[in-house]
Symmetry: D3
Subunit: 333 residues, 6 copies
């Protein structure tokens, strides 16, 4: 395989970081972070379109694509302080889930093996099955905690007759043992799915799920503290999975299964920042951005910033110095 | 009259609940809740389009239309625990307000007489005059409190030379005595309407209106507590009226008279949930969803969920057991 | 399997014709035409979204869904003169092409076996492989001519590493022998695909393709006359395949692979009308309507009318009397 | 009544022509043309929104609103050569059809009485009943021919239980005798409405309707020649009624009842130009532009230009000199 | 120069206030507030379109444009209690920044000289250089504090080779001495711009910038208290500059450089209200509303209301009586 | 200057052709065609946004960006048969017209000097002044004919007080003598601009303008024959200037000054093809594609295809063999 670039358009990289090629390890062997596009929407149960997500997330920024993004409050420039490359999209035909997942899983495994943090931009959430498995293969079966932002638990069993799709990946991950149920944290759930049988199965796995009512009641900070503590306990790394539909569809319309009543954009950015500052992140995915349902690219811009917030916080954490994002912007400059 | 279905499109029901026919009482005589579509936008003073609201609200859900919606935090499945039927739209030509209101009023009265809770999906807010009157006819003149979520008081006197329209229904309801002014609660008001004379008239009726500044200052919970207390006092039932424009137009653009600075979607869902848990609800309306101004169906989805939140809380209340929506999702499963 | 209805929304039928169930042959055994939804977009190589096509095409009409559509110029009412039923969507998960195609192919075969004309509404053009094969199984291998309206030949060999997808079905159909190359007519081709090798392969099959330059030069009528003559020669039936992207994207934006410079809507309607009047149609498909890229439902409305034009002309042909669509509307009334 | 301006927004006039007030005859007593806004959509049977049409049509032009519009091929400047004033919108609440029609009818009558040509911008087609009646009152009962561009005949009898609405005005006009059936010409009809009984009624009235198939078959020029000849025969004036949905929805999406397969924009402009050059026009209406379904204001721009084309041709005709629009642009300059 | 009106459309004023003409001082000599349109987008570095902002902000309101807007919670009617006129747009060709800025600067200076508060509606933020300079020319060089709501500091040095543009005005204002750095307050900054060198320059100027993390951490009220205190200290007036992109793009999509994670609309309205109540405001600007990227006019509506909130609070402040916006709406009526 | 790429987004080239750098002549010294982006919209008099045109036109294609585009009817692959490179955008700040034009003019001159055909993608039509001048500098002052497709003559004198803008470039070109008036052909003009004085000036220059009425009357083929003959007479090269608004806004909404009644997309493609086959083209520009007003990228796609059609015909012409685009697609393969 040679570098594909964006499967559905011109070849460019996330904010202009250097290109790399999955088939040529030398192009990413010294990378801290490797961006991987997963333009797959064959697993969506309702609206499709998120195959266009990787291209939209990569390119949606009004600033020059010049390899620099100094984070105002974290005071780091992740694109300069980390070595970040973008291997482009993995070839993922929507009609062939099995082959698509194999490819993304193998890509993630390679990246982990090279010592880098894979950042997967989807595509639908089906890819979690492949990329988290890929991370677990490298970092240890059951040794990676997952913090999962989503309106939906994605722990269904069989949907439309299929074991694999964007409603089931978390169940498959727990069934395989790639992840431990009691190190699987979910934030932002709401609505009317899944049904009680699945919730009981989840409870039996020891999962900890923060539905919106609990988050509103306790406050997001308190909930994040608990989630962070659990995730950190007896683990070798943490995977951050962000389904953009955790944000209220009123603020992030470009997605396939919009459930009203979610996070604000601000809350998502703050949550990702805090977790990536506090936890040893070994993988990130941002999924379910569906450009055809977006308006003025606002959901794509949010996806772009979620990735960048994670990168920034990872960079800040690596400095090994205390960070206070709330410090006045110009204080100490 | 025979069943009309959706006046402006294919015949289907709210989330696939069984069809019923207003002219055949046997089809809804044992129902707990009856959905009634009111596709009328002849009363709007500015942008029209909400005649398409009932169809959009009925159908806008990414989950299968399969007669089941288990609410995650309330732990009820309203579509299974309640007997809910949908009589389809009432024939409401926009150009004939009088006939339209007569029809919806009569429909609501029939439903109440059958012992069910009418849930009206509009359509513009003009219908409040008819459906709340219909409820009052059955439950007692002046015996039903109203909790009204809206950016606007809808208590105008004469607008565009007309006594009846979406800016005046609440005044007409108080003038007729169908509702008591001191049991009429309004939440979410803001902006620049109505003018002082009308506000003085409202004060004289004993109304209690929570403008956004007060809500921000005191917190929504505190305000809801006060509203709930008043509504419950010396009443035989409560009607919940939700104008979707109570939510900020930034999150709910699909409406006709957008006034910036409103609720978040989350706040509206939480408010409806709480009131339907605490109060003896005898009728609900969700109005002013205007699909031609919507984007990616996000306002229609919100309308769908407001209805479902009300149904869920009604179902939970009927169980007669204490409910704590903020309880951790998997606790006790 | 029981009736699925619309896979991605409420259950309603094409313009309100009666429901049928593929698993219960009695529901369609006396039908003239059976509508089948194929909500599959896993085969699209670029923009997805056409899985929402069947629902949009079924419901997009401003007239009452009342089982009657009197065609003005053909003077037939196809919904009354033909017995038309709608079996709803076939379950087609985008991520499993093989299973999806099997299901639609089997559905079409059943319908043909029952003596009816299948009218498939897609969904992407991949389904042509299954539904035309299904028709050929019943009417005779190589005995059905195909008239194919499209901007693209869809005769690619392997795309994105896949033999099956929306760019290859016509090649597969000729390779299998289901269709004869010299009875495969294509109208509306333009642009920059496929490459010469594929065109040479097509030439070797004896295909006859009318690129837009030829159509503009000769006039559409002349071209249709030639196509009709070839299709009718030594065949037992004709299949009409309409990819909506044959129309200029300026008039039909809601599609996935828009190639400027196509038919007007009027030309497509006239072409379908004429062919269905002149030829013994045994199957129809209308594909590639992609609602998320549509505006104001204009492409969905066009898809709805292409189906209805075909049904009308089929009905008119069955009357066995001469038809002159250009006769003055009121003449002879 | 005092001048209302735009009922749904700021007060400005069609392309900046002077304001006038219906209640002050001196403001329009010497006018050649009077623009009247009819922001009514209470008669629409499906999508509403055209109440916003008058404002959109008035203001939608990229050129300065400076009182000059020199027509390139007709070589006239209608805004300078005619005295044109705009009386603003007539107050037309959607929910009160009767009162709305009375007001627009009276406005048109006044304008005719003042010796001017009324140009009504809608609003839905219901207004035809009022404004053509108004014209007939002044110019003679049954003495005004009508040339009507539309996808629909608008000759229904009772729709949604109502005699009056946008599907019935032409029937009411013939029933009252305001217009003669044999001087009622319709161009652009297509689709599936009305049903045969109504067509037979139309035939009995002696109407002449040019369905799209006839227009395509004979060519638009030939059809216009016939229509023009009939309209001119034994009449005292001609009313031009343009429903924007005569144009294909692919080119004019902003309308409520889109029927694919219509005119191009160019064809409509050419037709209006030719008829207003050849015939003694005594009234014009442009209706059914529905801004909420429009995109980038293209339908509003078309509506603006249809009005301007009519004004230009009326101005050219009044010069009394031969006009050849096809003359090379710079020839003779 | 004569009155231009809206440079890009019909001539109407902000909510129908009286027209004035900059060249005729008598038209605004007794005004309290003068609205000035600045339809310039030549300074935008990314998406353009905000030249259409002034027209959109002026006209976007569902209430009648009747010269009255009684503010519900402030209990003032700014359009009646203040004398407000609108001089229309200043002629500002996008391609000539220098001339454009000269014109707007001179307009603002004239207005200040007449004793009125200029309210500038943009247009891009480049205009701040001209209008704040214009205010400083009148009220004293370095004597006017600035409170600046924005996602971006706009303190860049040279962008795209240009000293002047929408990313640099605040630097130019401090360099010229028009404003003091230690009286320049910024709220809502976030994201990845500007780079550290610029931040250090800002620190050296003594600026006080409240990044979103600090605002979330401390609460908006606390931050406003500090900003208000600084602004009031040793100043002769305060200028309020509102870049609409301070609001989250999820709620205000119609802007050119959307940075996720901002204020809610409610927060912006409350902030503007409070500051205009507490501070001696001598000028206001609302910029960067870009209608082509807006949806359903929600960003334009927000811009309209930000202006109106400022006007209302200015009017309330002038009454000289204590104001409590959180007082129950009907209390004391 | 180093290569800028896309001024407003990621760096990629037109359909993936190789990158080149204007400052390094070796990168384009052997090129046949050089693509130059001109992202300038500071000259637009009404709606802006076309600065985003170059990026949209470069990337808008559903086919792989793989350096091959075999034209179906011309039987050439321009991306392979010509050496085409893309130098990216020229830095063009909207607010500095003079500097922007200097840069694009110099870029074009360099490209011509290197023996290549410049293909400029705009951006607004102001750039014509610079790029046609650049071509004339190299090929001879007054020696290059211009064929100009547009709804507007663009021969204004002073607009908004400016000599330079998108309404005046053609006048400036004739005034300077860069082009001869009697070798300046315009096709597609229509509407109400410019005024008679300007038309008289145009006539005096000997221009030949084909207004739409003449085109409809004579047929496009006939008109093209005349235009081609004039352009070829006594010239050393022909410049093809395509303003996308020559196409009807109903089919190409994404533009700033939409004038209804234009070409179809098909007609534009056929015209460009024919002229580039018949004439010695030395430069091409495609301007006024404004993405924020586009829908589903249909106007951008058309712009992409106009460029590709020109490239294809140039390639076909260079072969020196007769070409018959209307030859049956598979004949002779």
């Amino acid at each position: 395989m040679t570098r594909l670039g964006n499967m559905h358009g011109p070849d460019f990289t996330y904010l202009g970081v250097p290109k790399a090629d999955l088939d040529d390890e030398s192009t990413y062997s010294d990378a801290d972070v490797v961006i991987i596009g997963a333009p797959f929407d064959g697993g969506t149960g309702h609206r499709s379109g998120c195959r266009m997500g990787p291209m939209a997330i990569r390119g949606c920024d009004y600033l020059p694509h010049d390899g620099s993004r100094p984070h105002l409050s974290l005071r780091v420039d992740p694109l300069r302080e980390l070595k970040i490359v973008d291997v482009g999209d993995v070839l993922m035909p929507a009609g062939d889930t099995e082959k698509s997942l194999e490819r993304i899983g193998e890509a993630v495994r390679k990246v982990c093996a090279a010592g880098a943090v894979p950042v997967c931009i989807g595509g639908d959430h089906t890819i979690a099955l492949a990329d988290i498995t890929g991370v677990a293969r490298h970092h240890g079966w059951g040794r990676v905690s997952v913090v999962h932002f989503d309106a939906h638990a994605d722990t269904g069993d069989i949907i439309h007759g299929e074991l694999v799709g964007h409603g089931t990946p978390m169940r498959r991950l727990l069934e395989s043992g790639a992840c431990r149920g009691d190190r699987f944290l979910q934030l932002g759930l709401r609505g009317y799915w899944p049904e009680p049988e699945t919730l009981e199965w989840m409870a039996r796995q020891g999962m900890r799920c923060f539905e919106m009512a609990e988050i509103v009641d306790r406050g997001l900070d308190d909930v994040l503290t608990e989630a962070s503590r659990i995730a950190l306990d007896d683990c070798d790394g943490v995977f951050i999975s962000v389904d953009i539909d955790v944000v209220d569809p009123g603020m992030a319309p470009g997605t396939g299964t919009p459930e009203p009543g979610g996070f604000t954009s601000r809350q998502l950015l703050d949550s990702v920042r805090r977790l990536c500052l506090e936890l040893p992140v070994v993988g990130v995915e941002v999924v379910e951005v569906s450009p055809p349902y977006d308006h003025a690219d606002i959901t794509a811009a949010l996806g772009n910033r979620v990735v960048l917030e994670a990168l920034s916080a990872i960079a800040a954490r690596r400095r090994g110095e205390p960070v206070n994002p709330a410090r006045p912007l110009l204080e100490g400059r």
